[in-house]
């Protein structure tokens, strides 16, 4: 995206003129960044200390009413999860709407949904890092936290959906006296490895990135408890050059490790379906299609979380409209890929000449679950097309609403894939219909409770924006920064003269 030509463009080049309304121009005026020729990633003339204050202050202020409301609401939903799971363990999977042809229902739908959401964080933090996309710095922390919490929610579902969850450790390759190994041919086992590896690396990546900020929090802490807690996890960070050297190497290595995982985890999750032979599941397009869909839903969830967060924590100057716009563009891209995949599935179903396959797809669109299919198509294919409009992609409210639609659509995508394929397969004699029970709904709602509770705790106790990283992308961080020029044209001209 970055081109060298922009670096030397004079200010006010017609192509770079803002297209927004005159009111917006004051804030969003395309004043060129002296280094990259782009808009500044951090708006307003801020010092390093201002950044620290802006991020650390919200988590140091006790009795934040808005936070308490959000937290207690999340906690009560978590209680719903607790009750649902307790009843599930007591009674058995029969409390859900599952039946004979449809042996996988909402639990697996939710699993794939949450794993998908867990994609954006690592993509933002690792892939964009490797591609030197500096705009990632103000959103990577929260997205990574989202990833971790989403993967926690995701891991919950395959665990509790089994008939005997107390034996959930059996798929792990634990040496035992019977020499019983798990079945390495099973995609479910690959899942166990893929998702747990993804979780571990994401957690480590997140934690390593947190260390300098934890040290900042430790240094700012006013109570011994906070000092101890932050200090413990800051691992004695003092910010020395040697620390930074090690830190950046470790971060780069982890980014390198995490990048293939972004692609592998949903690829392998898609194998759960693609490796089976059910019409509608047995599809070679699934791995790329799932990854695109996962990034799509992940970015949507990042928007869902960050749009309120930037407003409530007054971080608009750090998470700028430009960030939102960039994410919206990724949503548009991946959404269109998903739409393409939907079309391609139908083409192949027809082109393959396999009657079971063509029936499965016709049944998706026009069968008993036609409504789910069309909800999916409207949310996933039509909704993102609004992003072509510049007004919409620069409006936080519009993007928030849009992101909710994408979240719904992506949940339905997994529902459509899982349930419509299962309910009508090869032998018409065993066809059935699946409808969820109250407990299915409660478990999904409860998983949102778990997710938001964790997220609330995160925003309350940890810096939601990578303080150290954001500082590095500020104009002020540039060694050639000239304080008097407000990193504006004057500075650029000064640089020209060099």
């Amino acid at each position: 995206m970055a081109t060298a030509g922009h670096t030397h463009s004079p200010p006010g080049t017609p192509g770079l003129e803002p297209h927004g309304s005159p009111a917006l121009q004051a804030v969003d005026r395309d004043r060129l960044d002296p280094l990259t020729g782009r808009k500044p990633l951090v708006e307003q003339a801020l010092t390093f200390h201002d950044i620290t204050e802006a991020v650390a202050r919200p988590i140091e202020e006790p009795n934040n009413t808005r936070w308490w409301i959000a937290f207690l609401m999340s906690l009560s939903l978590l209680g719903v999860l607790g009750i649902s799971l307790a009843y599930l363990f007591y009674m058995g999977t029969g409390i859900w709407g599952l039946n004979n042809p449809v042996a996988w229902g909402w639990a697996i739908v939710n699993f794939v949904f949450w794993v998908g959401i867990g994609h954006a964080g690592t993509l933002i933090s690792a892939v964009l890092f490797l591609f030197r996309q500096k705009w990632r710095t103000s959103i990577n922390r929260a997205s990574e936290a989202m990833t971790i919490f989403a993967v926690i929610c995701a891991l919950l579902f395959p665990t509790v959906h089994t008939g005997r969850p107390w034996f959930i450790y059996w798929p792990l390759p634990i040496p035992n006296q019977m020499n019983m190994w798990p079945n390495f041919r099973s995609p479910l086992l690959w899942d166990v490895f893929a998702v747990s590896t993804y979780f571990t690396v994401s957690l480590l990546f997140w934690y390593v990135g947190l260390i300098p900020d934890l040290a900042t929090m430790r240094d700012r802490a006013k109570t011994p408890m906070r000092r101890f807690a932050y200090g413990l996890f800051a691992l004695g960070w003092r910010g020395s050059t040697r620390h930074w050297l090690h830190y950046e190497k470790a971060y780069m290595i982890l980014a390198g490790l995490a990048t293939p995982l972004v692609l592998s985890v949903h690829t392998i999750v898609s194998f759960d379906f693609a490796v089976s032979q059910l019409p509608g599941w047995h599809t070679t397009i699934f791995p790329p299609y799932f990854v695109a869909g996962a990034i799509f839903s992940g970015f949507a969830m990042v928007l869902t979380l960050l749009i309120p967060l930037r407003s409530w924590f007054r971080l608009e100057h750090l998470i700028t409209i430009k960030h939102l716009e960039n994410m919206a563009k990724i949503i548009l891209l991946t959404g269109s890929m998903v739409g393409y995949a939907y079309g391609m599935e139908f083409f192949i179903a027809w082109y393959s000449g396999n009657p079971y396959e063509s029936y499965a797809f016709a049944n998706r669109a026009f069968g008993d679950y036609w409504w789910a299919y069309w909800i999916m198509v409207s949310c996933n294919v039509i909704t993102p097309q609004f992003i072509w409009s510049r007004t919409i992609r620069r409006s936080p409210l519009a993007l928030f609403i849009l992101s909710i639609f994408v979240n719904i659509g992506m949940w339905f995508e997994r529902f459509v894939i899982t349930v419509t394929s299962l309910h009508h397969d090869f032998l018409p004699s065993s066809w059935g219909y699946y409808s969820p029970s109250l407990w299915d709904v409660a478990t999904l709602v409860g998983s949102f409770g778990l997710f938001f509770t964790l997220f609330c705790i995160f925003v309350r106790y940890l810096p939601t924006i990578a303080i150290a990283e954001v500082k590095s992308v500020m104009a002020i961080a540039d060694p050639h920064y000239h304080p008097g020029t407000d990193n504006g044209p004057g500075f650029a001209q000064a640089k020209e003269q060099h």
Binding site: V102, P171, N183, D425, L427, S430, G432
Partner: protein, 1053 residues
Amino acid sequence: MTKPTESLKTYWRSLADLEGTMPAPADEFPGAESFATPSDETRATLVPATKLARRKFAGLLGASTALAGLTTTGCVRKPVEHILPFAKRPEDMIPGQAIYYATAYQIGHSVLGLLVESQDGRPTKIEGNPRHSGSNGATDMWAQASVLALYDPDRCRVPHKLGADGKHAVSDWDVVTEELGATLKELRGAQGAGVALVVPTVLSPTYRDTLRSFQEKWPKAKIIVDDPTAASNAVAGAEMIAGPGARPTYHLGGVKLIAAFDSDFLGTDFDHVRLQREYADGRAVTSPTDAVEMSRLYAVDPHLTVTGAQADHRLRVRGGEVGGLLAALADRLFAEKDVRLPPGGEQLRAALPKTTLSPEQDKFIGALARDLTTARKTRRPSVIIVGERQPAWAHALGFLLNYALGNGANALRLRLDDLAVATEGLPVLAAGLRDGSITQVISLETNPAYDAPGELGLAEALKGKVLLHLGHHVDETGQIAAWCLPASHYLESWGDLEAADSTVSIVQPLIAPLHSQNGLPASRSAIELLAWIASDAQVDGYSLVQGYWRTVLGQSMYSDRAWRRWLHDGVVQGIPRAGTTPTPRELAGLTTALTAAEAAGTGYELDFHLDPKLADGRHANNGWLQENPHPLTKLTWDNAAYVSIETARKLGVENCDNLRIALGGREIIIPVWIAPGQADDTISLPLGYGRRNIGAVANDSGIDTYVLQAGPNPWIVAGAEVAKQGTRRMVYSTQNHGSLDPGVDPASTKDDSQGWNPGRGYPERPIVRQTTVEGYKAEPDFSQKGDLIAKENLRSLWDHNTHPDLGPPALIGVQQWGMTIDLNKCTGCTACTVACQAENNIPVVGRSQVANGREMHWIRIDRYYTGPKEAPEAVVQPMLCQHCETAPCENVCPVNATAHSPEGLNDMAYNRCIGTRYCANNCPYKVRRFNFFNYNKDPVNDNEMARMQKNPDVTVRFRGVIEKCSYCVQRIQEAKIQAHTAGENTVKDGVIVTACQQVCPSAAITFGDVADPTTRVSQAKKNGRNYGVLTDLNTRPRTTYLARVRNPNPELV
């Protein structure tokens, strides 16, 4: 080391306390009392006291901890068990080794010889006795499920006496003997005046003998038969035309042409097990040349039954028109010179009711008549079978036609039942009760208050009149009986049964009566009770039965050795009977009946039929039968009013909408179920549901339809008022989809689009493959057509795998198990589903679970309709685990819970299964079942009685695991062990018989070693009709099917 001893002592003492075997010591904490009320005086003694208390306390602490450990590991206290270990083990009894005893089972006029498996004294499984002509080694679902009835927890266990408050109070046999004995003595003194004895069909020689002695002692008493399962119309028809005592039997051996007039001879009509075997033998085809010799079946009926589904040609007509069609057929046949009538035939021909036939009916009857005459000319045996629901004259006419066609003594045999006791029907009882000539009713294993036609009003009329009721439940009659006495199950009592061909079996008990009172058996068999009623002497069943045979055969023929032989074989040989054979010569009665025959009624016609599962309702409290899907509609736990699509449209109803059906002031509200193949303007109503307070299983299951029965022939009643009622009652079918034609939904009144309807229909799928005889001749490999990918193009991923450790399952066993199911023989009777349930401890899950598609049956009988929506052909296909060689379920299980055995079995390790259900998803045949709940802990499956039925060789599965057909691996292992003990490396062909194969009345299932080309199963697989379902998926199923060949009449095609 005083401390441990001390605590040990305390430990035992407290354990004893806990058990309650030892009184608690008066002072647990010496000094504790003084501790509680300290005073200056006691303060001095306080120190040593606390010291002692501390030591004791420590001891108690240890003990209670130890106890806590004990009790947490065994919270559930073991019940007190009385064990009687064998000091000397009885000969031939090996604990854990099943023993089989021969006995016999009766329903209506059908008798099945059985071999019952006994596990350590508990009867657990019913199998057919191959020596018995009625069963030929097979059974039906009723006999299969009868073992569960033995362990029915709702059985009437002790005698009950009706108190003044109208409620039953528990009584005992001493009181019964004394009080009821006095009443009976009084009645006997009056020669039984005003008494009616209600009995079911009696086929037991001893029972008949007892009845005769009752008649002697109670000459004025009436003997009434109440048995909806009996073939009473057929018997009446035979007696009408061939004199009293004439009994008909049909025999299909060698028969090439069968015309079934409203007969469900493969399903519920009498002798169905034997007829099914004979029918299936006539459909055995190995090559196109055989196919030409195959039998042809015509069916004329209002309701699609198992028989109708088998028919090569089926004509759906109103039940009341069947007789007219038979008369029309007779008229055409009598015109042929080959068809000879006995003297008096001309008047009879003139008396035949004249019916106008629709063009379709005319064509059908014409073709049938020509086919029958051709068969007559070419000396190919044929038979006309008239169904039990048709009036006696139709039967008589049918018999006459059979004789005229030369089928007498071959396909239709009449014999003289000279031992039968003259009885009367329920209308006599109703009339007697109405006019006061009957004041006391004795009901022996009958239920007139429930199963009498509603028109007779017996439920009301019997109130206060039933003196005693002997029954298995406190049923509708028992509830109003002054004395309700528990009946012994046939597996608990002695008896004997005479089959349709005069084969006699001794019914021997396998277990002492389960329920006892004061240490004595609390139940009586009907024979025992009747003997007591007759003569006031309480004789046990064994003496009665053995005594009868000793007397009847005399010293010359009877010996203890012969008796033991009979018990062993299950068949009595050499019973002396009168040698005369009745023939249909007495045409006068039939001519009169024909003249008087009512024309088919108009308006809505109600067609009552025995439910294929619950029969007349006697099996209503049997969970296996309630949950077993109906052979065609696949309904479980409920009955419904079956209507045609046209009638449903006319009434404006869809499935489950309630109908109000009224007749003669009586009405019922019953949900509707659209049954393709049903005749228009007829409503088929299964009997046997809507039982009132007889047990947990039966209650709230279905609607009682007896209420509407009326008229001289209560099975078919015309002129009912039928309307949509407005409410709904949900009834559940295990198979909602089932047309093999694209775009056709047979269960909808809506017009399906002619083309492809993506939501409902689907492209044609080569699942069930069938052709006609002509098609078979033209294409002997027709069964191979339809594979999406030709066999030679199928490539396995394993084929180019070179790694030694990765590969398809190593099938290195010497013997490789496989199965074939002959779709040409399978009638879809669903006996195998019940047999499998009995053998493999499959739980009953209940209506609500079935409603959500969670039934656990390891075999389901898939039924597909094909052809026109209103009058489709139905095909059936048993679907069970196919034991694929490259099973899709195996590679997706993350924990290896399902794996392949070296002998080709797809094994299930229940205790390894964690229940991901991935295998169920990936099974293309959808034969895996999941324990969504702990079904086996449900009281229906896990009560102290039902537990006794469980097969000890099969794991009772727990919640959260997948289960499925194992090819009865326990039977395979048993046979292998025995072969091993005998020093053989392999199990001989035919030794292993799976439960479904064993029960199959049509012998459609063959199981054995497919690695050995000489075995029966290998031979069957060589049959050109052999094909696998969904083999395109490269699953390589071990279960394969022999495609069906229909034999239509070219004239009607």
